[in-house]
Symmetry: C2
Subunit: 176 residues, 2 copies
Amino acid sequence: MPWNSLIRMAKFHGVVMEQKAFQDYYKDHSSHCYGCGRLNPYGLQIKSYWDGDETVCRFHPQPYHTAMKGFVYGGLIASVIDCHGTATAAAASYRAQNREMDTDPELRFVTGSLHVEYHLPTPIGRPMDLRATIKQIKGRKVVVKVSLFSGDKLCAKGEVLAIQIPDKLKNMVVAP
Amino acid sequence: MPWNSLIRMAKFHGVVMEQKAFQDYYKDHSSHCYGCGRLNPYGLQIKSYWDGDETVCRFHPQPYHTAMKGFVYGGLIASVIDCHGTATAAAASYRAQNREMDTDPELRFVTGSLHVEYHLPTPIGRPMDLRATIKQIKGRKVVVKVSLFSGDKLCAKGEVLAIQIPDKLKNMVVAP
């Protein structure tokens, strides 16, 4: 394994052990997402964390998440980029307000648009490591750039336009 | 139910009954996709069909495919757009060569890029109907535009850049 892979892995585990995932701060009514909801037992349970000014996410594809044998399904890659992107938008917005993620008012985001470029086939037998940066925060909109690695190889790049959830939709969702 | 919804549904069922799905023409080694592979029992089993010069796909989300309660997960929407887009690219390429989809040489596509715009929350209790048009066929690249409806409502739009699978990757995949 190349030396910088070891550094990345050690750093990732260091990050994970010190922090609670962004998604685990979401309130119950926001935790049913198939991608990242802690209350969705059938879902992917995607988890995101801070690493300095960037955010990270490690995801282990299941053996059946195939595109073709040996490679990860592009729709799964899009899904992980999507949830890591919107979670990053939420975390960045709390941080911009100097607030913890468990404080009110709640800041939750939906996806306005998602763009993914697939550069290399992503091997399925190893974790996918995502890193995201905040490109822009403007009003209720946050643009997040995401890179997806397999080991050292950059396999995909994504951009997520996340929009802070409108109050009218929030009321629809929160209502019992 | 609005009258034009009834027409769309009837038309969709008419289309389905007359045709074999694009994905069901794929050879065994190309049929393990989590999104649309007929040999992936854990997958979504997405199916696409011709409707004149356009292609259609109807997908029924599972109750656990939630974004928030009552609405479909954006990653699932991206996945269905992705597989319907690459399948449409394959079907259009065979058609451009006046060939049936079960003839050799095999034409299979991977996703080069995927763009999705989410216009409205997509209700989870009803099918999603996708329609796709071919924007461009140029060499090994095909650009497909996809619209996703819930009933009459346009909920999402997508664009898929599909790339005919490179021979070197094909050899990796086909090898036992």
